[in-house]
């Protein structure tokens, strides 16, 4: 049999080819284009009562009393009304990790504005909100911790009783002798940088609906979650239901991006409530709740020193990173995940002799930090790439040249980084070279010289990064996580009429997996991918698996589907060869048939025999055509995608507004399953990265009150803010994964903050302004310009 690079049987390919690598349109589009997606708020289960949460208006306080009007008492449920419900406890398996409990609803102390206190139940949400309004909670207000650096410095109130300070965990990755490097360095680039707190913002908020199924005697929990199986496991444990008597269903999801990738307190509360009432109950998150009470993201502070020689060769990096993780640890990630990721990946695609990382996770009276597209890496990339651009400026060279010279070379792969990550494959410098060609750097510099008129400046910014994806068993173990997400599973099932169903434990909410998993099956079985049904999002329809997050689904579930359909392909061929009275080696699968020369037998006939007429099977062949498998990549260290981004921006120093004129991405995610889907993910991630760079921020005042609780004060990038990127691909298949596929869901969001902010700084380089904080709002630009002007004035004054 001929095999291509990915090890796939060439002869199984149908004409036109629609398997792995084909740019085909999406199977899942039809129902959404008809307006018939079924999201959580669309479920229509008779008798459902709606829930509004009464939430804390104070950032830190002890609950002294809760007064509920007598007329509403039966409609209000406090934690104490729910029976024995365990608090959520997310831990890292490390002796230094400081553990805190996060109850589904506060019982004695509230630690951020928006923390749930009571559930109010009524036939409609409006009436439930009326009940919530009637509840009076008396607090003894406690000192509020808002400032991250003060909290890290131990100068504030302690948030969890019994702790010596607010520091949760300190991680210290690195290698080499940083002091020796510091001594011999010609150039030291030293900077403080900040990536401010932001919200995740799925367009559909979170939501949970739960009821008791009388016939199956099980608790059914619908949740807008990325990981239904995992949620069932933890919910069962916390609310005291056996796992085989609970079903978790994730229906269509209107965007998730990480905010639906953790156990939610509301899931615990609603599931616990459904246990004790005899009607379905549902909570739909509104936008204010999403912006103030769901898990938030980022809030990184960097103190960085980059050491280099006079030509710009990097010698070492010394970095202290403080991440403000809010008030609690969310399950299963723990609040240290973000910071640990940052210091683990800071060196990026670069070689260096020494790295000393220190990542400090501290708490504050803000919502807990959770995963958001990129997890830690948008900040790490922003901080590192800002320094690289400044290094280039310092040694008088073009930033892209510095990058090329310092990157890990393709012949060094696989490469163990100074922080201990194993890069599997790739040609990092090539991504920069290609990007530079597409931008035409020389011609840009000529234009830049001409252009600084009327306060309008143009700038070019770069960002290169490595995106670890499909984290395997080794990676999760090294992170000391309580759960190990190193595999995925799938069932491939022919129906008796010859059609194919794939049952998977991941979820699909925009990633195109109803198409790309079908393309995998098409590659193995020679079936029409548009006719494959993918079932997911329901613990009752697939084998156990871990969910969709961390750019893992294509690698993990794709691998599982590949393995399962390969197993079925073998059996289909055995049965087909038997029917055709020929040998196994002389048949192949094509267009839904077993083919031998001029003769063929359709899958419908194979399935008739396999399911309904076992007497016609080959000797010793078992009836049925179903395969259930688990798949894990050959190495549990992850598959590493990478990219270089280049942004061309225009900065108006009169208004402080930034416009992105051009955006180029050269990207490598190994074997591409569907280029259209890959480009869609890059472009979509890019939009979120642009939001991170320029618009999105969740600030808090000194009382811990959120200052962004609507879309009027939490700005999202829109049609006029996000350019269509020019995207080119490099394909370096991973040696560790089936088909050589690497994950790629987060990269767009990782590179954009660095590229855009570097471009802004390049535009402003002759004005004495440098901005190292996101989002770069007009206010920040104008303030920086004013400050630079007054500094130069006072300098002049001193000189006089």
């Amino acid at each position: 049999m001929e095999k291509n690079e990915s090890g796939v049987d060439e002869k199984n390919r149908q004409q036109p080819f629609r398997g792995i690598g084909a740019r085909i349109n999406r199977n899942e589009d039809a129902r959404f284009l008809d307006g018939k997606g079924e999201y959580l708020a669309d479920l229509n289960i008779p008798g459902t009562q709606e829930v509004a949460f009464s939430r804390s208006p104070v950032a830190h306080g002890r609950i002294l009393s809760i007064e509920i009007p007598e007329e509403f008492r039966s409609q209000v449920f406090l934690m104490s009304d729910l029976g024995n419900i365990k608090p959520v406890r997310a831990v890292l398996n490390h002796p230094d990790f400081r553990v805190s409990d996060f109850p589904a609803m506060a019982t004695d102390v509230v630690r951020f504005v928006g923390e749930a206190i009571a559930m109010c139940v009524a036939p409609t949400r409006a009436e439930a909100e009326d009940v919530a309004q009637s509840i009076f909670v008396d607090f003894e207000e406690l000192p509020v911790v808002v400032d991250t650096l003060e909290s890290a410095g131990g100068r504030t109130e302690i948030i969890h009783e019994g702790w010596p300070n607010n520091t949760v965990f300190i991680s210290k990755p690195g290698n080499g002798d940083i002091d020796a490097v510091a001594k011999k360095a010609d150039v030291i680039i030293s900077r403080e940088l900040r990536m401010n707190r932001q919200c995740v913002v799925s367009l559909e908020g979170r939501g949970v609906l739960a009821y008791q199924d009388r016939r199956l005697q099980e608790l059914v929990v619908y949740s807008s979650t990325q990981q239904p199986h995992i949620i069932r496991t933890i919910l069962a444990k916390l609310i005291g239901v056996d796992e085989h008597k609970m079903r978790v269903v994730a229906p269509d999801i209107g965007g998730a991006f990480g905010v639906k990738n953790n156990l939610q307190q509301e899931e615990v509360a609603i599931a616990a409530l459904a246990k004790i009432v005899d009607f379905p109950v549902r909570w739909i998150e509104d936008r204010r709740e999403h912006l103030i009470a769901s898990a938030q993201a980022r809030e990184h502070h960097y103190s960085m020193k980059l050491y280099a020689d006079k030509n710009g060769r990097i010698l070492g990096l010394d970095a202290e990173v403080i991440v403000d993780a809010g008030a609690y640890s969310i399950w299963p990630w723990s609040c240290a995940m973000e910071c640990n990721m940052v210091v683990g990946v800071l060196p990026g695609p670069y070689k260096m002799e020494a790295y000393r990382g220190k990542g400090i996770t501290v708490l504050s009276n803000k919502p807990p930090l959770g995963p958001y597209r990129g997890v830690g890496r948008p900040g790490a990339c922003f901080a590192m790439e800002r320094l690289i651009d400044e290094l280039a400026r310092e040694v008088g060279r073009e930033p892209h040249e510095i990058r090329i010279e310092n990157m890990v070379e393709p012949d060094q792969m696989p490469f163990t980084t100074i922080a201990g990550k194993l890069y599997d494959s790739g040609n990092f410098p090539q991504s920069v070279r290609k990007c530079a060609e597409m931008i035409n750097v020389e011609s840009f510099r000529e234009r830049q010289k001409l252009n600084a008129k009327n306060g309008i400046h143009i700038g070019l910014g770069w960002a290169s990064y490595v995106e670890q994806t499909a984290h395997g068993t080794n990676e999760w173990l090294s992170r000391n996580l309580s759960e190990i997400f190193g595999y995925e599973s799938a069932t491939a099932r022919f129906t008796p009429d010859g059609n194919l169903i794939l049952e998977v434990a991941i979820h699909n909410h925009g990633q195109g997996l109803e198409t790309t998993l079908a393309q995998v099956a098409a590659t193995e079985l020679g079936v029409d991918p548009t006719n494959v049904v993918i079932r997911y999002g329901d613990t009752a329809v697939s084998p156990y698996g871990l969910g969709t997050f961390a750019s893992r689904s294509m690698v993990m579930a794709g691998g599982a589907v590949g393995k399962a359909t390969e197993e079925l392909a073998e059996k289909v061929k055995r049965i087909g060869a038997h029917i055709l009275e020929t040998t196994f080696d002389s048949v192949l699968l094509r267009d839904g048939m077993v083919v031998s020369g001029e003769r063929s037998v359709p899958f419908s006939e194979i399935c008739r025999v396999a399911y309904r007429h076992a007497q016609d099977l080959p000797p010793n062949e078992e009836p049925g055509l179903t395969a259930t498998v688990a798949y894990q990549p050959e190495s549990g260290t992850g598959a590493f995608s990478y990219a270089t981004h280049a942004a061309e921006v225009l900065v108006d120093t009169n208004s402080g507004l930034v416009k992105i004129d051009d955006y180029v991405v050269v990207h490598d995610c190994g074997t591409i399953v569907n280029p259209m889907v890959v480009e869609g993910q890059i472009q979509g991630g890019l939009a979120q990265g642009i939001g991170n760079a320029l618009y999105e921020e969740s600030p808090y005042d000194s009382n811990g009150q959120p200052l962004a609780s609507t879309f009027l004060d939490y700005l999202l990038p829109g049609f006029t803010e996000v350019p269509t990127a020019r995207i080119e691909h490099i394909e370096s298949p991973s040696p560790f994964t089936r088909y050589g596929v690497k994950g790629m869901g987060e990269g767009g969001a990782i590179g954009a903050p660095a590229a855009v902010v570097n471009a802004i700084n390049d535009a402003l380089k002759n004005t004495g302004v440098e901005i190292n904080e996101t989002p770069v709002s007009p206010r920040r630009i104008l303030t920086a310009i004013q400050r630079a002007a007054s500094t130069s004035d006072s300098n002049e004054g001193n000189n006089l």
């Binding site: 008809d34 708020a41 367009l203 209107g254």
Partner: protein, 154 residues
């Protein structure tokens, strides 16, 4: 309060609370217009876009009582609309959707801007569509889809 209106071509009447939003009223099981999606409930994201008397409107910040006597068309009522059919095909061809939550409203807004002025280029599509937010696609597929349909209709 009692109201009467035309919903997707049918005359309906109902007794609604004065505070009930038009979106909640139309999404209720009785009317079942679940193509209306609620992304913010304060009139910014555009996911609840419908047509009131033929003009695009945000059903989340309209009250049901204010629709008394109006001709209301939701995405459910545009199944046979020729332009919507073309737009749906173009969104499919250009990867103009990911999670699908903003999609019905995007299609209604796109139909409106093309009907108003089919002489659209990329920049004018972006400007005219800027009342709808998409969190997944980064807009490029949507812009390409709408621009293509507008071009073909000229």
């Amino acid at each position: 309060m009692n109201i009467s209106l035309k919903l997707n071509g049918k005359d309906i009447s109902a007794d609604v609370e004065p505070r009930t939003s038009l979106a909640d009223f139309l999404r209720s099981p009785e009317h079942g217009c679940t193509s209306i999606h609620l992304g913010c409930e304060h009139g910014v994201c555009g996911a609840c876009t419908i047509l009131i008397d033929g003009r695009i409107s945000r059903s989340c910040i309209a009250l049901a009582v204010a629709a008394d006597g109006c001709d209301v068309t939701t995405f459910e009522g545009l199944n046979d609309d020729e332009l919507i059919t073309q737009l749906k095909d173009s969104f499919h061809q250009n990867h103009g959707l990911q999670c699908g939550f903003c999609t019905p409203a995007m299609l209604i807004s796109a139909r409106e801007i093309i009907n108003q002025n089919p002489d659209l280029d990329e920049a004018s599509v972006r400007f005219a569509m800027s009342g709808n937010i998409c969190r997944c696609t980064g807009y490029s597929g949507i812009v390409a889809a709408i621009t293509e349909v507008a071009k073909n209709r000229k």
